[in-house]
Amino acid sequence: MKCEHIEELLSPYLEDELSREEKRAVEEHVKSCESCSLLLSSLEETTESLVGFPELEVSDRLLNQLYSIPGKKKRFSLGLDFFLRPSLQPILAAVTIVLTLVSFYFFNPNKKSFDREISRRLHLGYSQVGKLYAKAESFTASLGEYKDTILVSLKNISGSRETEDSTSDNNGGIKWKKKSSSPDHRNLPLSQEFSPSSFRSEWVLSTTVNP
């Protein structure tokens, strides 16, 4: 085995975690390789030194300071606990943003031009709204004029949909037949079912020869 592979096995070897074969391989290699042997002895020394690392006593001063922590914490937390609740965090964030914007407005060196710009925008907004309002009024007035016409045409359309009949004219065998182009609604997809074109009907002239 190569030294690199053996080196990786040294720590598990000391912890007695290797299989019998691996253990034998490590022992045989260490006998013949001076570098790995030195590394193994260094590793043993390291673990021994670490195990014997001194454990220190805690000083009375530190103990007293540790005993006083709960009291300190209580005094400190009384004021902060309320404000640091998670439910208040969005409100605190919103307040921070508003305060930042307000401070930006009040401490802006170009405050006057800023004011002018705001009032200009406001006036522009008002005039736009006024124009829209006027347009809406004229539209409702024009609708009023054509109200009767629209109602009649709507009635005609609905009446013509209800019956699919044919009217015949005996004059010279000429027959007027109403051909509805509206398809069978049960077979139509939903998007097409109520499209205006599906209700279009037309009158077609068909001629038949009377016997």
Binding site: E7, E8, L10, S11, P12, L38, L39, S42, L43, E45, T46, T47, S49, L50, V51, G52, F53, P54, E55, L56, E57, V58, S59, R61, L62, L63, Q65, L66, Y67, I69, P70, K72, K73, S77
Partner: protein, 167 residues
């Protein structure tokens, strides 16, 4: 109650990690402060000691990362604490002190996560399972980190020895 049970353990962990007595005292206070603040979040199904040591581990590693460029004094371990037990002879004292100083230097050169696993395993004698819970890592990863850390320390010690032999 908490202070009596855990102060010694936390203080020693901080000292072993930082190598400075004063720093370890400050860190212990901070860890206990954090502990009192987090007590409400403790899940009673968990092992309390492991949970507390996880808080301590997170704090120590974060603190190390935060201040690693500031504190160059970290390289100098408080030597008066290197020997706590009485040795048989002054020569043995010197040798042991020298060896521990070298080990400390090597430990200090390790990445903070590996150093913490070595401290928990080899100094504090915790099992792999306990370390895995404290470090929030699989036991296999803990084992490989410990092996890697020990090997680095051993190489460090070996190089030092070789250099001193040359001199």
């Amino acid at each position: 109650m908490l202070v009596n049970t855990y102060s010694r353990r936390i203080f020693n962990m901080s000292f072993q990690f930082s190598g400075s007595y004063e720093e370890a005292e400050d860190m212990t206070q901070d860890i206990f402060f954090k502990l009192y603040n987090s007590l409400k979040k403790f899940d009673s199904k968990r092992n309390f000691t492991a949970w507390l040591l996880t808080i301590a581990k997170n704090y120590l590693i974060d603190e190390y990362r935060r201040t690693k460029w500031e504190k160059k004094s970290r390289d100098n371990f408080d030597e008066q604490f290197l020997l706590s037990e009485a040795q048989e002879s002054p020569e043995e004292d010197v040798l042991k002190k020298e060896s521990r100083r070298t080990i400390w230097e090597g430990l200090n050169a390790l990445p903070s996560e590996i150093r913490m696993t070595i401290i928990l395993r080899d100094i504090q004698g915790k099992s792999y399972e306990e370390i895995a819970e404290i470090m929030s890592l699989p036991a296999g990863t803990v084992k490989s980190r410990i092996n890697r850390g020990r090997l680095q320390l051993a190489r460090f010690l070996k190089e030092k020895k070789e250099k001193s032999n040359e001199v």
